[in-house]
């Protein structure tokens, strides 16, 4: 599996610098409007709302003045070893060998939600209702992204349609290769502090493949072996530990 993952095509990934992230939520808003994520009738019902990108707030649990907080924006991790893919009985979700992105085909999804149960990151949402697009708002929909219907699961696609548009433009100019800045998702573009870096992990010339070598780089729940392609950077040790579901004394007691 791993060999197969690393040798074919691109492996698009993301690095989010948590030291820069202020938790402003611009990425969440940009993501929702780019990907036709609807505003539900009752958005206070968090078990029924749809989020492709969500921001989690964590604290080190200390009292003032020692308290520290960090925000973790969480898109789909686009795992190289995705737990959601093998559980899908309809083959509606697959790892694309050309890009490493986990595809989700809404017309193929039967809505069983096995993938939601399998995903340790809660990156997937279920459409409990047909999306409400009140009259007039449908004019602002992104034409390259198909809207979802009631009864299917959806998730972040790293704005895959932007990759397709970028490729199309490159072809028009007679190129087959994309430049690094030609394809970035809406969240990375919207971030006011440039906390999100996007690129091809397989391409050593891309900035991202240098960033992940940092000693501050980590991934969420790394020990599960899902091999996420979304990396985080934090200079704070407590943040890095929390991201791996670290329990105090866990590693010490094993030895």
């Amino acid at each position: 599996m791993k060999k197969d993952n690393n040798n074919r095509g691109a492996r698009y990934g993301m690095v989010i610098d948590l030291d820069k992230c202020t938790g402003c939520g611009a990425c969440v808003a940009a993501c929702a409007s780019e990907n036709n994520v609807p505003v539900m009738h009752d958005e206070s019902d968090k078990t029924r709302s749809i989020n492709w990108l969500q921001i989690y707030k964590i604290t080190n649990g200390k009292e003032f003045p020692d308290i520290e907080i960090a925000y973790i924006p969480r898109p789909c991790m686009q795992c190289d070893n995705p737990p959601c893919v093998p559980v899908c009985p309809a083959t509606a979700t697959k790892r694309d060998p050309n890009t490493g992105i986990i595809s989700q085909i809404y017309t193929r999804c039967i809505g069983c939600r096995y993938c939601m149960a399998a995903c340790p990151y809660h990156a997937r949402s279920f459409n409990w209702f047909d999306p409400p697009f009140p009259k007039g708002t449908e004019r602002s929909l992104t034409t390259e992204v198909s809207p979802r219907m009631r009864g299917v699961v959806e998730k972040c696609t790293f704005c895959h349609h932007r990759l397709m548009s970028a490729k199309q433009r490159a072809y028009a100019e007679g190129r087959r290769e994309l430049r690094e800045d030609e394809y970035i998702p809406a969240c990375a573009e919207a971030c006011p502090v440039n906390a999100i870096t996007f690129g091809d992990l397989n391409n050593p010339k891309h900035k991202i493949s240098q960033l992940i070598k940092s000693k501050n780089a980590f991934r969420l729940l790394e020990k599960l072996g899902t091999e996420p392609k979304v990396y985080y950077l934090s200079s704070k040790e407590w943040v890095r530990r929390m991201a791996d579901n670290y329990l105090q004394g866990e590693f010490e007691s094993r030895n």
Partner: protein, 208 residues
């Protein structure tokens, strides 16, 4: 008693054949006829009278062109028609259809509500650029000999799905003689595989 049984044995096959033929007629003729509703195009456009072998001598790309960003224009807007059909007083032919074009669309500056034979479902992404420019595929490989067509075929739409019959194929059994007879997912995949582009059969290459 025995004689009665024999009699029904003897003629049982008649009912079987009659029922079978009836069911086949319903399944192959009546149901497909009911399933598809027929619509006429708003104007009888003749590709043959505009195309490369005509007096107009236009190429496909003159009307069905690419934008600078690589996206495909599809069916031309009325502005494209006006480029040649400029003046209602000076029509280019004596056809009634051209008169209709002027009175109904060009003079009131209204778009023609064309019915698109090859309109794919919303979940499908098809880049013309990748196929026409990068793979050098001729228009007719998917669309058939449109350039030679003198009249537009009847547009048939599936009442249940809302898709054009040209996606399924005009042959109701789904049989295919030419590359342009069907436009289903398997036809895309077949061509990708034939040209050693199996990687392009990944879901997210054509779905969005």
């Amino acid at each position: 008693m025995d004689a009665d049984l024999k009699k029904s044995d003897k003629y049982g096959w008649v009912f079987l054949i009659a029922g079978l033929i009836g069911a086949l007629i319903v399944g192959w003729i009546i149901f497909p006829a009911l399933l598809y509703s027929k619509k006429e195009q708003p104007i009888h456009f003749s590709h043959a009278k505009h195309g490369p072998d005509s007096d107009a001598g236009m190429s496909c790309e003159d009307c069905h062109f690419f934008y600078e960003d690589g996206s495909f224009s599809g069916i031309p807007k009325i502005a494209k028609c006006i480029e040649c059909h400029e003046d209602a007083e000076l029509p280019l032919s004596d056809s009634e259809e051209e008169e209709k074009l002027f009175t109904d669309y060009i003079v009131p500056n209204k778009e023609i509500p064309w019915l698109v034979y090859s309109r794919q479902p919303e979940c499908v992404y098809f880049p013309h650029m990748a196929h026409v420019k990068m793979a050098d595929i001729e228009c007719n490989v998917c669309h058939g000999e449109m350039a030679k067509q003198d009249s537009m075929p009847v547009y048939k739409v599936n009442r249940l799905t809302g898709y054009s019959i040209d996606i399924w194929g005009r042959n109701i059994a789904g049989l295919k003689k030419n590359t342009w007879d069907r436009m289903k997912m398997n036809d895309c995949a077949e061509c990708h595989t034939e040209h050693n582009k199996e990687n392009n059969n990944a879901c997210f290459v054509c779905h969005k």
